[in-house]
Amino acid sequence: MEKKKLSLIAFSGDYDKLTAVFTLATGAAAVGYEVNIFFTFWGLDAIKQKRGRAFIGSNWLTKLFGFMMGGLSVTPNSRFNFLGIGPKIFRYLMRKNNVATLEELVEAAGALGVNMYACEMAMHVLGIKKSDFIHEVQDVLGVATFLNISEGGQTLFI
């Protein structure tokens, strides 16, 4: 039997939406699915090596953008962000209730062999290099390759 497949397009850089991406990815991988995540635009924040704010970019404008976007630890909530306090409250509530935080889910995704890909075009626009990402990001892709990889499975855009 062919392996079941789930492909996710991680467009959002919001803490809560990325939590949904990594919850689905790790859950599916753990029950035997092949899982692919294609990170694009704001979603690229989730896979940066530098999880705080850093001047990542190819010129002053993209570096400023990179600093404002930040990495995984400074991703904002889509609602109830309260100037960055919202995600901290969520992390607290999740730990208190023994639910995995976003950082733990990202680590689990790596351990489970979830395939992570970065969008070539968005990287070019934002001046981000493959070496700026965590080593789990195996390749830099375009639409055609992603469609090829995700063919025959379920695909979600988050």
């Binding site: 919850t23 029950v31 733990e104 489970l112």
Partner: protein, 73 residues
């Protein structure tokens, strides 16, 4: 060899994640006893283990809402 894993306090998706990672660690032929809560983990951990080609030897009620699923790799 028999290994044990307690996921009674875990929630989705870590119930599956921890079981899968533990099954990946142990040797072929080894036994894994998973303690889990009823509901989603009890319904789906044995099912997904079977689907992935592992052998679910038994499912026993331990106490309260806790069950023990014995899986052979």
């Amino acid at each position: 060899m028999t290994h044990t894993l307690d996921i009674t306090k875990e929630h989705c998706p870590m119930t599956f994640v921890k079981t899968k990672l533990k099954l990946a660690q142990i040797a072929e032929g080894d036994i894994l006893e998973v303690l889990l809560a009823e509901g989603e983990p009890l319904e789906n951990v044995p099912r997904s283990a079977t689907e992935q080609g592992f052998n679910v030897l038994s499912i026993e009620h331990v106490e309260g809402t806790t069950h023990k699923v014995t899986i052979q790799k």
